[in-house]
Symmetry: C2
Subunit: 366 residues, 2 copies
């Protein structure tokens, strides 16, 4: 499996599109906003850039894609009003893998620019939104060309499934699961952690070359409290796939040899890699949690249990469908997410099911 | 008609896609290559950029999109080998209107990067290919952020249909035609020329802000020898639409009120605008011509008249279909281009039918 070929959110704007199912991601961006705001204000009032150059890594496609840019523009305008200086121009690079649906993002740009002009009465500096397709596990930008890097809910997708999870003879090490689960062996934990270390190191090294000295990053990713705490939504999806194996709908071998290119590190693991890589000062590392369905409750206060399960199911489908369908077939997806929807809230009542989010705030050493 | 909404080449890679029908544009890029080469060599050995930043305006989607970038990389490598210096990195911005099919371009990038690595044995500097969707009749990039701007077969598409071509009462000034034709009145010529002057001035002013001092542009566009010489392929498409009006297949009013946002200037007109705008030194202005079907003869030496007409028809369709279909309906397109195919080479035998191309080479004054 080539991760670059199969990892992308559901494109377009249809029923199961990521564009229409990214409320969780929106809630997370909004929680992290004060940290981004403080970082941008600090950057502007120490570096005074003529043009603030930023990148959003793993931007995806949908209403959230331009949300961060739009928040940052408002922030720049406020900051420079306080400083009594004209606002800088902004060049924002939206990054995602080459199979992301950028066309849909681009089609929304003329409307976005019009709205900016109206909201800010032309008082913000000019804003230039470009796209940079490619993997962030490698170089994306020229040396010293960025002031700020943002990434939300993207870094948990690692560059490849750890190779050791399937032996050369084709035997799966993580049988019956698609990610670290309660039944996974220590070897599985280790394979995933080593891959995360390699990937996050490359990520940090690449960004260190691309950011100006003093430049900053705010990275939000899925985390875990400790590596022995496998309550991850993908474990639950794995259980449903396992049920389908028992029902003879999916070949056992297909499940046994499939693993997600995904890792939710602990705060200690994150710190360990940042210190070992050495280019960045860790400013802040926060953990916040939310129940799997709390963002749905928040957005739709009248929704009953069934309605929330339906939303959650489609939201997870919008994220996971392309990669899951590449292994189990498009035709298995309806059944899989029907099963997910049927059981997910019962599961939550039995186990403590939370998203654990890490916000990592870093500054490139001068 | 919002030009930004309807002007784009046929997307995807199907039978009538621009990607499969852009041999003419490829032939033109190849003719202009020595001029681009000389410009890049001059730029590199006077500005010695650490990262050469270039933009290709009106990049479209297909095999030509990355051709210029690929030529420039080879050129940089040669130039710096001669200078005995390590090559700079390259940041290339592909620009087109937001409805261009960028997804298809992005999907070809991993293969493109792999090929680069193989061809240059990792001896070229790193190459970062970004996209900047938006109209080049306005700002696209931050101040002083580019070294080189390239544009091929894009500038003849003006920002809007000249407003005066249809009176407030809804009467068409250029009845029966879709572009300047032999039967067009001086008022039609004038409306088009004034729109071109406004647009090209905005284009030059925008690029002057975006280019570093000493930065260069090579612009290839369709031209005419003088404004009284209306042998343009769109006049011929207009004749076929007129036949369809006579056959009752298209409403007369639809044709009378439709005009292409297109202008092929003369060399004198180009010079006039460049001098009046004042930011650039005109280094070179060349004209070269080719028969409508000469690029087809070149590429397919065995093709007879009928086969050439079929190719030419689909090639013109790949360029014109979205904008023509927005006025005359998708369902009229098969008939229109069948008529075009039937008559086009006969027409060429009666009249001298040539593409007239202008290559404009400019340097931003220091």
């Amino acid at each position: 499996m080539e991760v670059e070929q199969v990892l992308h959110m559901n494109g377009g704007d249809g029923k199961t599109s990521y564009a229409n199912h990214s409320l969780l991601q929106r809630a997370v961006i909004s929680t992290v906003k004060p940290i981004v705001d403080a970082t941008i204000e600090e950057l502007c009032s120490t570096l005074f850039p003529e043009c603030l150059k930023i990148a959003d890594l793993g931007c995806s496609s949908g209403p959230n894609t331009l949300l961060v840019v739009s928040d940052i523009i408002a922030n720049i305008q406020n900051t420079f009003r306080k400083l009594n200086l004209p606002p800088p121009s902004l060049q924002a690079f939206l990054n995602d893998l080459p199979r992301n649906d950028f066309n849909t993002v681009f089609r929304s740009l003329p409307g976005f620019y019009n709205k900016l002009d109206e909201e800010h009465e032309n008082k913000s500096g000019p804003c230039f939104i470009a796209a940079m397709p490619g993997s962030f596990y490698g170089r994306l930008f020229p040396d010293n060309s960025l002031h700020f890097v943002h990434s939300s809910y993207a870094l948990m997708w690692i560059s490849e499934v750890p190779k050791g999870l399937v032996t050369k003879g084709g035997e799966g090490l993580n049988k019956g699961n698609i990610y670290i689960a309660k039944t996974s062996s220590p070897a599985v934990f280790n394979e995933y952690f080593e891959q995360f270390k390699r990937d996050f190191t490359v990520f940090l090294r690449s960004r260190a070359q691309e950011l100006v000295p003093g430049g900053s990053m705010v990275l939000t990713t899925m985390g875990s409290i400790n590596s022995k705490d496998p309550l991850c939504i993908w474990e639950f999806v794995g259980l449903k796939l396992h049920d389908m194996v028992l029902d003879g709908l999916i070949e056992e071998e297909k499940l046994d040899t499939f693993n997600l290119p995904y890792y939710a590190p602990t705060t200690d693991e994150v710190k360990e890699v940042i210190e070992a890589e050495g280019s960045f000062t860790l400013q802040n590392l926060e953990v916040f949690r939310n129940d799997w369905d709390s963002y749905i409750k928040q957005a739709n206060c009248g929704f009953d249990k069934n309605a929330r399960a339906a939303v959650l199911s489609t939201d997870i489908r919008a994220v996971g469908e392309p990669i899951l369908a590449s292994q189990f077939g498009e035709e298995a997806m309806d059944d899989l997410f029907r099963r997910f929807e049927e059981d997910v809230l019962d599961h939550m009542e039995k186990e403590k099911c939370q998203f654990i989010n890490l916000v990592i705030s870093l500054t490139k050493k001068r």
